[in-house]
Amino acid sequence: MSTTANEAPRSRGKAPAGERVADWADGRLGIYSLAKANMRKIFPDHWSFMLGEICLYSFIIIILTGVYLTLFFHPSMNEVTYHGSYVPLQGQLMSEAYASTLDISFDVRGGLLIRQIHHWAALIFLAGMFVHMMRVFFTGAFRKPREINWLFGFLLLVLGMFTGFTGYSLPDDLLSGTGIRFMEGAILSVPIVGTYISFFLFGGEFPGHDFVARFYSIHILLLPGIMLGLVVGHLILVFYHKHTQFAGPGKTNKNVVGMPLLPVYMAKAGGFFFLVFGVIAAVSAIATINPIWAIGPYRPDQVSTGAQPDWYMGFSEGLIRVMPGWEINFWGHTLALGVFIPLLIFPLVLVAIAVYPFIESWVTGDKREHHILDRPRNAPTRTAFGVAWMTVYFVLLIGGGNDLWATHFHLSINAITWFVRIAFFVGPVLAFIATKRICLGLQRRDKEKVLHGRESGIIKRLPHGEFIEVHEPLSQEQLHTLTAHDQYRPAEIGPTVDENGVERKVSRGEKLRAKLSESYYGEESQIPKPTVEEYKEITSGHGHH
């Protein structure tokens, strides 16, 4: 009896192990519908869509290595005498934080490599976010419905900067101590509340005994916690919105052309994670980063030349370095404008790029969803603005490293400082104009290519002796790709007189918008893309090239 009962299900064959596991999990988590909906999620293929992945993976690497470092790091400013294995510091007084960082570097197995991976990955993470943000910016991927995800990404960049800065400050070496002193000076320059904030932050006079422990909590708990949440939100939104794609045959605003998440993208992304880890590990094994042993322990009475923050804070260093040392003294108070003004400009530089998408959507008044990316040339004003912003950023980076520019290019540091002061204002304007002209030139070129075909490089001699170059017509796919973009018309101020002949008041905002719209999409700002009639007329063959 029992044997037959057992044999009955076997005759239909036992389900394979994978199916049973899936069934078990679905019965408890209800993941079937979730997996069904998402496993076939399509992702388009383009190398620039992997920049975000570089950030995600380096963030994971930073978390993993950071956990290892917390096992050995002592976030304490107690003074100790060093007796570790680095000879040139033996017998020196230093904080426990610094001593434990030396121990991680010299006495913990694999400690130095892990430290270097952590730090290199941080620099690459920030650089990756920067480039990723620029990719999103220049292709217009921030447009509806992705504005919130743009802000999530922007917040990640800003939080990443401050997480990096607090981490850079933890070892309590002479370089990071100088950086903290710099920050303290900036805080002190805030009128009225500056001194209070500084005393609150440092628990008294700088440097005090508290800041390493406080920065430690901020660095390993508070900021990364928020960042992790934002990363998850960022990814959920990417999933929800689906990925954008470049224009091309078969690609519309309503579909996504690419490969499914499973198995193709899972394999690709998983492999890419290991490639990212491999590259960062190789960089960390090859090159030193932040050799705190050579830098020495922090003492407020010491300072070194070449004291800069990590690159992502470099533009704030530049702001301070090139600002004239203005000061106002009144009734026994000092307003240190030379520090306070840079402190005010610092967030403005960042906010300028963050709010741009909202300004653009206000100017265009476009409420449609956009899933097809722009080519940068087809949005000349946006592209020009982005390049102008990057120019400001890069000019400030030059200011932040003005001493190294001076020594390595045999220049006067004063000349560089003056160059930065002028270029801070002039550079973005020139960059804006130049970029816009280049974009328009490229648009003309596209138009020419569509109408007259590709230059083939073949020179033909006609019977009557004339030489012409043969142009090859583009394929249908290429023609589509080059003409797929929308072109806006400048928004005009509506009729100022209503149907009853009553004059209405045109608000100042409306006028500004019309003016901006004209500068975005007026005759000077875009080349009308070729129409079908133009194409037909030219290609109908009147014997000319």
Binding site: D45, H46, W47, S48, M50, L51, I54, V87, P88, L89, G91, Q92, S105, F106, L112, Q116, L123, I124, A127, G128, V131, L174, L175, M259, V264, F272, L275, V276, V279, I280, V283, A285, I286, A287, T288, I289, N290, P291, A294, G296, R299, Q302, V303, S304, T305, G306, A307, D310, W311, G314, G400, G401, D403, L404, A406, T407, H410, L411, S412, I413
Partner: protein
């Protein structure tokens, strides 16, 4: 005594006292003055001075004046001492090629013997610091850690944490200390060449200077170990940031392009 005291107002009394005093001084001098062995040295010394003077007249006088008194093109060399000459000429900075923000170091064109002769001549113009002997800058008895502390307190502001150099105003700079002869570092501290302040023994004792030199040898010498790999110039976060962008992110973008190019193709049926 009474007889002596009675004659102390004698017109010749002053003369007698003067004679006695002279005899006394002369006698003391004869007793304590260095013996005649100095004679040979002196002639060698004066020979060196003579030779140095000739070299000086050819290589230096156009800017520093025929007697080392200085001109509008070059400072006075009276009292700079032999150490200053040994440093400036021994590192090739002098004779200068052209005036500028700062005179760079270059190929040394005088032999050490000639430099010594020049130094002897300049030293003869007025007293100044002498060329240090080897035990003053040698590694024996030096405290490297103490030297590091002193270096960070006194030198790092211009020369960077480990002496990689740095910028000063208007095109001037603190040069790198990599590969600089310990003797020259000692002389530079003592004499303060060009834009560098001088650190005489009253400011940085002989032992302190020795410690600093030993520290530099430990962190910026030929045998310095770089436990973390390439030091990227030891210039801090600027070169690290550049490296991260170019080789870190650059490599990753190259990898991304490579991965994206190798996509699974849809099966063509």
């Amino acid at each position: 005594m009474k007889k002596l005291s009675a004659r102390r107002r004698h017109p010749l009394a002053a003369l007698v006292v003067l004679l006695l005093a002279l005899a006394c001084t002369g006698g003391l001098y004869a007793a304590f003055a260095p013996a005649s062995k100095a004679q040979a040295d002196e002639t060698a010394q004066s020979l060196a001075i003579d030779e140095g003077k000739k070299l000086y007249a050819v290589g230096c006088a156009s800017c520093h004046g025929t007697g080392g008194q200085g001109t509008t093109d070059g400072p006075s060399l009276v009292g700079v001492g032999a150490a200053a000459v040994d440093f400036q000429v021994g590192t090739g900075r002098m004779p200068a090629q052209q005036p500028g923000a700062q005179v760079p170091k270059k190929k040394v064109i005088y032999s050490q013997a000639e430099i010594d002769q020049l130094a002897a001549y300049i030293a003869s113009l007025g007293a100044g610091p002498a060329v240090p002997s080897e035990e003053k800058y040698g590694p024996e008895g030096a405290d490297i850690a103490k030297g590091g502390e002193l270096f960070r307190t006194n030198c790092a502001q211009c020369h960077n944490f480990t002496g990689k150099g740095g910028a000063l105003t208007h095109g001037k700079y603190a040069p790198t200390l990599e590969g600089v002869d310990p003797k020259h570092i000692y002389e530079a501290m003592q004499t303060g060449p060009q834009n560098m302040p001088s650190f005489p023994d009253t400011t940085l004792s002989e032992q302190n200077k020795k410690d600093i030199i030993a520290y530099l040898d430990a962190v910026n010498g030929d045998d310095t170990v770089e436990p973390g790999g390439l030091s990227l110039g030891g210039l801090g976060p600027v070169s690290e940031g550049l490296f991260a962008w170019v080789f870190g992110l650059g490599a990753l973008i190259a990898v991304a392009v490579w991965v994206a190019a190798r996509t699974a193709k849809a099966k063509k049926s």
